[in-house]
């Protein structure tokens, strides 16, 4: 269950982040991953495919959501730091990445403008395996394109 002191965090939303997808972004990501899928590299091939043109690899928006001055470490949502600070106040000072889940609904294409909005959807206190209490947190990020269509959802799970 959610500790009373942390209930106010449930439903808290982050500032929507806007990300304009370019061909260069897509190719940089595909190249860095060593992915030679012609859907990302060969325009003629991509046009003839069922997608009708170049698309981005799944989870392309995983983290690179907004390029800003002095970028060092991009968070997929500004909610993380806010949540960590509140959890620390309640005595939960650690933050361990417990995994991530994504669901993909539509392809991402060059020229798309994606809006990513994070929301704290769960904070649950559990008994730890070695005794003591631990806290599980989930931030859900909803990704919508310029047409208002749902593109993807991500859930970032943390252990505190």
């Amino acid at each position: 269950m959610t500790p009373d002191a942390l209930k106010h965090l449930i439903g808290m939303k982050g500032r929507p982040q806007v990300y304009e997808v370019t061909r260069v972004d897509i190719r940089k990501i595909a190249d860095a991953a060593g992915d030679r899928n012609p859907l990302y590299w060969d325009d003629e091939y991509a046009r003839a495919s069922r997608f009708g043109g170049m698309i981005a690899p799944p989870d392309f928006f995983g983290w690179p959501v907004r390029w800003e001055p002095n970028l060092t470490f991009v968070n997929s949502s500004d909610l993380g730091p806010v949540m960590f600070a509140e959890l620390a106040k309640a005595g939960y000072t650690r933050a361990i990445n417990a995994g991530m889940e994504s669901e993909f609904y539509r392809p991402v294409r060059p020229g798309d403008t994606l809006v990513l909005t994070g929301e704290i959807v769960a904070i649950e206190e559990k008994e730890g395996k070695k005794g003591g209490k631990m806290l599980l947190s989930t931030i859900e990020i909803t990704i919508v394109n310029q047409n208002g269509d749902l593109v993807a959802r991500q859930r970032h799970n943390g252990i505190h």
């Binding site: 940089k28 991953a33 991530m100």
Partner: protein, 160 residues
Amino acid sequence: MKKQIYWEDVNTGQEIPTLTKIASTLTLVKWAGAFGDFNPLHYENDFAVNYMRTPGIIVHGTLKRQWLIQMLTDWAGDGGWLKRIQTQFRAMDYPRKMKNLIGPSDEGDTLYCRGKVTGKSVMDGEHLVECEIWLENSKSEVTTSGTATVILPSRGQAHS
């Protein structure tokens, strides 16, 4: 285009073709730039050892996830669609040093993305395949694991 795999061709227990990857320092710098994760943990050894207290520079978890995604999209082909992926980072992986300007050293780890079909179903007209996925190092230790759902085309469907 590669030969398309169909839902009917896939059986529970079947292995997904392994995708083999080598991470070099160059790979990690490219990923940092493309993805926007400039944590020095992934490119400066002294910082990694002295500040982050890891044995050395480590491979980005997000890159390992992207490799597992590539294994799945390579397998599913253009007619398939990655619907869901969930991953958890279990252990660190380390990059190879550079042998020359472009190539990694012959010494060091090779990473293997692997997967197995765990179930099949049809839901809301979608032909789904459930998979277990993982990434192994040269010592056969699983350093990332997860599950995925892939939609494959069906031979029974009119395929555009």
